[in-house]
Amino acid sequence: MRCESYPKTSFYDELIDERGEPRATAKALCAHLNLQSAEDLRARREAVDAAIMTMGISFTVYSDAGNIDRAWPFDLIPRIVPEREWKQIDAGLKQRLRALNMFIEDIYNEQDIVREGVFPADVLEGSVNYLAPCEGMKLRYGAWAHICGTDLVRGGDGVMYVLEDNLRVPSGVSYMLENRGLMKRLLPELFADQAILPLDDYTTRLYEMLASLCPRDTEHPVIVVLTPGVYNSAYFEHSYLAQQMGAYLVEGTDLSVDADDVVTMRTVAGPRRVDVIYRRVDDKFIDPEVFHKDSVLGVPGLMRAWRAGKVAIANAPGSGVADDKIVYTYVPDMIRFYLNEEPILPNVPSYLCMREDHREYVLAHLDELVVKPANESGGYGMLIGPKASEAERAEFAKRIIAEPRNYMAQPMLALSTVPTLIGDELAPRHVDLRPFILQGKEMSVTTGGLTRVAMREGSIVVNSSQGGGSKDTWIVKEGV
């Protein structure tokens, strides 16, 4: 397997520079790959696939034919980020989440940012994720989105941009941890002679962050992970995190709220008080008394308990107000407004369809733009202009005119690539990067994140539900 035969493209490649040479931090990896025959790599890959099957690392795909539990697609070739660059990213991510949390608390209270004219009132009015039952709440440490998964992409100019902030129920961290476990189990020699930063103990930090939210003064808070159940696409992750933290994995039917607004879980010895809920259920489903009346995933009375301060919920209900592709475009302004700092990480340039001038531009340039709905996740419901047909673009134009608040557009990014094992060859495939940021009493960022890769040639859709795979992510010290 020769890195020299890797095809050159016009995209920025994370491992190979424009002359076809390995970047400084990828030299050791390429030297190692050069020693491997195609058969060696094939054997390694088969071992990886077998390990994934046995370990039962899976995710669920929803389809017409029922829900399928699929093995997690993993590519052997890691993505490498130089440590110096990572330090900048780490600082930028913390800055961003700090501002987002200040924004959420402000929006549900004084709304200074609207009054000062920095954030337009009409954007707020159109937000489907603004939850009136959260008004007037002040939370411990000012933290609402305690767990944030921020998607980063590198453009053709080599700059790392923030694509979106996932503040509702971001997933993927368990796969990040499993990916590292797989790499160490199957390619241990790669770790022996390089300075690859270890993944910090994310689950310990997550536990400590959740414990710091406990409303009671107790040594041993009862922490639960609230899952929609075994058929949810991220169920593997819910059970993984509960297992790693020694927390209870509960479903809505296991919990109830008593007359004193205390949340309890149903145990074989009767009801037991719950202090902190790490919910992996969308906030509109957590309490049928307040939101969707027919939700069976939630717990009647949960909002009451939360408002009374008897239980902590992470992420707090209402955090989704800042997880909206329109609100996203104002994050740099939030950073300036609340922190009086310049944003460290840039946003992708964006056009808001609710602004008349922007909308006209978008409609005139649909064949160059990626148009996204404000509130969908998982890569659903978006238009990739340059790849869409004339009819698809016309159809989308109608939707934009009908519901301008619901759409925004960005230039089609020339997403960076990483060499990926396709058959017996290394081929460039587009990637993004999702680090996870925690905010409770303290703040922390994972060392690296989950690198997702679009396995189909030329595709930029990295979601696992749509044929994406993943890679281990290395933060490597230069010059060691």
Partner: protein
């Protein structure tokens, strides 16, 4: 311990035990028939009967083996039991040791190919033994790497209850085959095969008798307090597990009633049809014990009855 989690553990225990015992049972039946004179097709329809299927005349070995090993519509077939155990384990990954999950997942993934191989007589013994061995490895992993906490006890509770039930069924078929065998065929051979299927042959010889008599074998498999596959052993362990659980009076009473029936075994064998009747009764009691455990630890509290006036209000709303 969450009630839902306790229930899933209990069922996982039952399903694993079911798979193991079905493998033992089919293997034992095959062994017995290998010892029979050619042309005799005894046993297979008995097997379906004791496992609770309507007895069908003229079922062939291939039909029955397929039914117990591979049939997707038979909730007790080995592949289905293992799949359900694995589905339960998937919802229990936060309480099970990781190695145990991997072992079960791997067994589940291998099961269809193994059971297909077992359709052939020549490969059956090896394939069924592999299932039994894999299950025992899993039991060992759980016993040696999992805290013996409430979660572990619910897993064990399910396994012991299922085992007691399966042992009663295995004795049922053995006595039926032994009784109907023409010319006193292999009375002894049949019981030896059954003891071997339950890994009980050596233990029987050491603790009971060198000679094989139906009465002694049945009383060993029913009433021995030290042999882990004997019904008494299972029930006594169920009692001590229950005693440690919160508020166990009802299920405990049910377990003791079941155990009391075991004293009647030797007497029942002197009566015509006494043993099958007793076995039915034991299975019935085990079923009641299951219901008592379910009601007590797993079932949701029933919603309080709504007053008529309230019902009307709700209808208006």
């Amino acid at each position: 311990m969450l009630a839902r989690v306790a229930e899933n553990l209990y069922w996982m225990g039952r399903q694993l035990e079911r798979a193991e015992n079905t493998a033992r049972l089919v293997n034992a039946t095959t062994q017995v028939l290998l010892d029979s004179p050619t042309g005799i097709e005894l046993g297979w329809d008995e097997l379906t009967r004791v496992m609770g299927f309507p007895s069908t005349q003229g079922v062939t070995e291939a039909d029955v083996v397929h039914l117990f090993l591979l049939d997707q519509d038979n909730p007790g077939s080995i592949v289905v039991s293992l799949r359900q155990a694995r589905e339960n384990a998937r919802s229990l990954r936060e309480v099970l040791p990781r190695e145990a999950w991997e072992q079960l997942n791997s067994l589940h993934l291998r099961a269809p190919a193994l059971m297909t191989a077992a359709l052939e007589r020549s490969r059956r013994d090896a394939a069924l033994r592999e299932v039994v061995d894999a299950r025992l490895l899993l039991a060992g992993l759980l016993n040696e790497t999992m805290s013996h906490d409430a979660a572990f006890q619910f897993l064990r509770l399910g396994a012991l209850l299922e085992r007691a039930d399966m042992t009663s069924r295995i004795v049922d078929i053995s006595s039926a085959v032994a009784c109907t065998a023409p010319g006193g065929l292999g009375m002894e051979t049949t019981w030896i095969s059954i003891l071997k299927a339950l890994s009980g042959f050596q233990m029987y010889r050491r603790h009971k008798n060198v000679r094989i008599s139906p009465k002694a074998v049945v009383s060993f498999l029913f009433s021995d307090p030290r042999f882990p596959r004997a019904i008494r052993y299972c029930l006594e362990n169920i009692e001590s597990i229950l005693a440690e659980l919160p508020d166990p009076a009802d299920p405990l009473r049910s377990a003791r009633q079941t155990a009391r029936l075991l004293a009647k075994v030797e007497h029942s064998m002197e009566l015509n049809d006494g043993l099958p009747v007793l076995i039915d009764e034991i299975q019935q009691r085990l079923c009641e014990l299951h219901n008592a455990i379910h009601e007590h630890y797993f079932a949701k509290p029933k919603p309080e009855a709504i007053e008529p006036a309230q019902t009307q209000n709700m209808a208006e709303a």
